[in-house]
Symmetry: D2
Subunit: 305 residues, 4 copies
């Protein structure tokens, strides 16, 4: 199986490069807008400890919203379920940066994977500490999960988002107006922009996702209940208003980032990281989504049996 899978990943990489239908990179963060869309990488960390890769699996990319999985894991691990008093667990049916529902629902974000909900999660993690400490916790969690200390924040990307991330500034201030941020908006935003600017290779990201996939070899970080809950949120909310479609096409829980990354948990079997920076209409990786669908079809991996 491992041999066949390795061959399949190579074919997949070749097919995607041959077709060259890459989508467009996100343009609202200047640093990300300069990334070449014609890139692809995939890494699969298996239950037996092996990691198979194809494409540019040693190129670092900005994990962006995939960091929401790690900040949520940190909050659930250290603080527990109190977060749900401040954030819901329902798909929003709206864009990742939507502010509309926040007005209709009086400042309570629908789930921790849309930007508004992730800001509240980061606010919960801050808990009166300095941003540096909260960031240390997140990056420490990621490094430990991946078993790799060579994972860092790209400060140029963080600065770029800080300079132009008007919509996130709007969201944070809107949350604050409803009393659903404890810390000052600027503090939360600074922390959030930095956590989003963590950069990793697909190989590192696949390794970091082993805990959520519940693979045997993963560093012990999350209880089974928490792991399953995070996976449930990834499946219902992980791709914003394209979550239903991703679940329909792959049958797997995943979380996308605007940098073009996707982290997929195949419970008990594999942790998959895919990267291709061109996006589709929902703001999710275009070739990454296609690769995920083909991988699911080839392997028969689906949580639905």
């Amino acid at each position: 199986m491992t041999d066949t899978l390795a061959a399949f990943l190579d074919t997949l990489d070749a097919d995607i490069r041959a077709r060259a239908d890459w989508g467009a990179v996100a343009d609202y963060i200047p640093e990300l807008a300069r990334v070449d869309p014609a890139q692809f990488a995939i890494s699969v960390a298996l239950a037996d400890g092996r990691v198979l890769s194809a494409g540019q699996s040693d190129t670092r990319f900005s994990i962006q919203s995939i960091s929401k999985v790690f900040s949520l894991a940190c909050v659930l691990a250290r603080i527990g379920e109190g977060l749900w008093r401040r954030v819901g667990r329902e798909p929003s049916g709206d864009r990742f940066d939507s502010i509309l529902l926040l007005e209709q629902e009086q400042g309570r974000p629908r789930n921790p994977f849309i930007n508004a909900g992730a800001l509240v999660t980061t606010d919960e993690l801050l808990a009166g500490r300095a941003p540096r400490e909260a960031l240390s916790e997140i990056i420490g969690f990621v490094r430990e999960s991946a078993g790799d200390d060579d994972i860092h924040i790209d400060r140029a990307v963080a600065a770029s988002e800080k300079a132009t991330g008007y919509r996130n500034v709007a969201l944070a201030n809107y949350l604050k107006s409803y009393g659903n941020l404890v810390n000052a908006p600027d503090l939360v935003l600074g922390t959030y922009f930095h956590q989003c600017a963590i950069e990793m290779t697909t190989r590192q990201l696949a390794l970091a996702g082993r805990g959520i996939a519940g693979l045997p070899g993963a560093p012990f970080l999350l209880s089974g209940v928490k792991r399953r809950r995070i996976a449930a949120l990834m499946m219902t909310c992980g791709h914003y208003d394209g979550s239903g479609d991703f679940a329909f096409r792959t049958g797997l829980p995943g979380k996308s980032g605007v940098g073009g990354g996707i982290l997929i948990a195949v419970p008990g079997r594999a942790s998959v990281a895919i990267w291709s920076p061109g996006l589709n209409a929902w703001g999710n990786s275009k070739c990454g989504t296609e690769a995920a669908e083909r991988l699911a079809r080839f392997t028969g991996w689906s949580v639905f049996g």
Copy 2:
């Protein structure tokens, strides 16, 4: 395991009856409003062919929206994927009978499990035939799936809903105004009210769900791809604006009905039917949801491993 599970189901039944916190029955369909809320039943059809039950598992109840799973299965089996030109596959974030998104999205329902989407599915199934023929197909599918011909439509419930189902009349006419119904609204509504009025016991329903759960003994009706797609839709959209919460709490794909039933697919392992007519704030069975969560915790069944 089977013995332990049987004992657990009995305990579950006793616990729920002891607590007697039943919720309120749906009041917008007069026939359903007369049902005693203090009722409970659960049936589990296992991969080995056995069916375990507790509570009133021989009492028939109105499956209501659970019928949407069967009409969708019929359409996908006979007609194929053309339905997706007319209906989306995303959670709506709104109530089961919401008309709001339908205006914003120009008559294209978000998914086949909210009422608007189910009306389009039924319209697709009609395809120019008489309502009687489409209904025969649905009820034939249900009987064959359950391996039981003693499954019928409660005509009093259908008539009751026809007399007072103003919101569904509104939805059908609204869809028609956008050209997203082929047949006359009254024809589609008549068919829809009758399919919702199918009545079954939890034992029959658990058996009928074996195909979607992909159990070995199930009558061959659906390909693996179709089965997994239906399960994905159940997980992301099966409980309306409470879908995310159900997935978070149980880790299982389920579909609820306003009559108080819930059908749950545990892929490869079990098909579960629960019934308790009192509802929670989202219009899903109150004790049924609690029973589903306790069953998932007891068995460790979760698609997320």
Copy 3:
């Protein structure tokens, strides 16, 4: 002044015909879709009793939503202010046939000039009577206001709308689901489709509007308070989501109909009826709106001095 105004109206008529930029007729009512858009008429009933006209002022057209002014006047005159328990008095910011706000505001229409609010007004007018009687009251009011008995309902238009008015059927049933219709939806819709199908010439309509404009010679029908309130509603809500723009451009209260008519009250000075069946993006008469703006500029008529 009268001579100059007469000359202006002729010039206006000639200009509009010369430019021939008519807009498109409403297409959702088959009978109206067959009307030639290249038509124009204007009539001005003055305080001194004279009526000046230009264009096809003897051609009858379907007044459609302008009838909402008359049904509202009937309800306020005979039943009084109880209507406001069921309907609001605020601009909706949405299309004339929007159902979205109705869901958000639990079945209470924003104002009596959007379709949902007009259906409630007609329901109030029915008050347990047969549709025939309510219709007699409206048409009697119109005839008396105009001082002209030769005003009738075009039954072909009423039948056409009944056959295809799915969105109005949806609105009526939706209102009923919230208990905000007393009568059966079909009865209200039948009455409503017939009141909308009243046909008049601009000359007749200008005369019928004298009461609302408070002209000295008008048949005594409405108290000053009621007249002013109807005018206020026309100004804030009379052109749906184009109401603000109409007020900005003309400074006058008006009510449009999808048949291309506009009724304008110039308090104490004139009652104006304009007709041109081609519509703009908001569903209001394209050339009619332009003619109203030019008339306001020429005469200096504006309620804002």
Copy 4:
């Protein structure tokens, strides 16, 4: 008439104080939250040059959103109609600080009197200048209109709003994210908070409103067309989602502020300023609205004749 009106104003003042049903002051700006709600003043500037007052007409209050009328007048006077490329002229149907429609309509505010639209108006007025210059222009306009140089900005109120005005910060950043602010959000917000913090007595405000009411003695500042357009906007949008109700009850164009002030233009006849800091459910002065309605009834003033 003047004597009778003077007597009426005294009676009105006495009645309101006797009833003592004041409403609650705005609580989201700490400085305003400390104002005693049990206050009332009214001033009427007449066409003959006289000013009649009753109550605390020499007490200064924060004009807040009434400043939007003056900033709009400045923009229209100096820059012209280009503003309408960036802001609409339709009632929004939503709260003064709503952000919802801004998402649905891609960053284009519905009208210049909701907060989002006023921020764009202030941005237009800034036009690359320092905030100090734009503020000088607004306050200069107000002083010239009132014929009174003793009108100032309350810097404590401006600072208070700057410290806690999270929702306005959200709106400005949201507008910027759509490219509908030219200047930096902080610059626009600073200017806006200061213009809102202008404080005036009702006597000063009534005098300042003479230009918009088109009174003979007013300093020449606005053309008739601009004046009528501003009045039309006041009538359709001046009281947020209570605009229709205010027009219905008074028949007059008015603009409210969250400090409890209302400016009313009675075209050609009077400019009225009312103040009472307790608010109703729409955020408009409770006793101020009642006083406006009683004044309209007593005088017969209504733009609708």
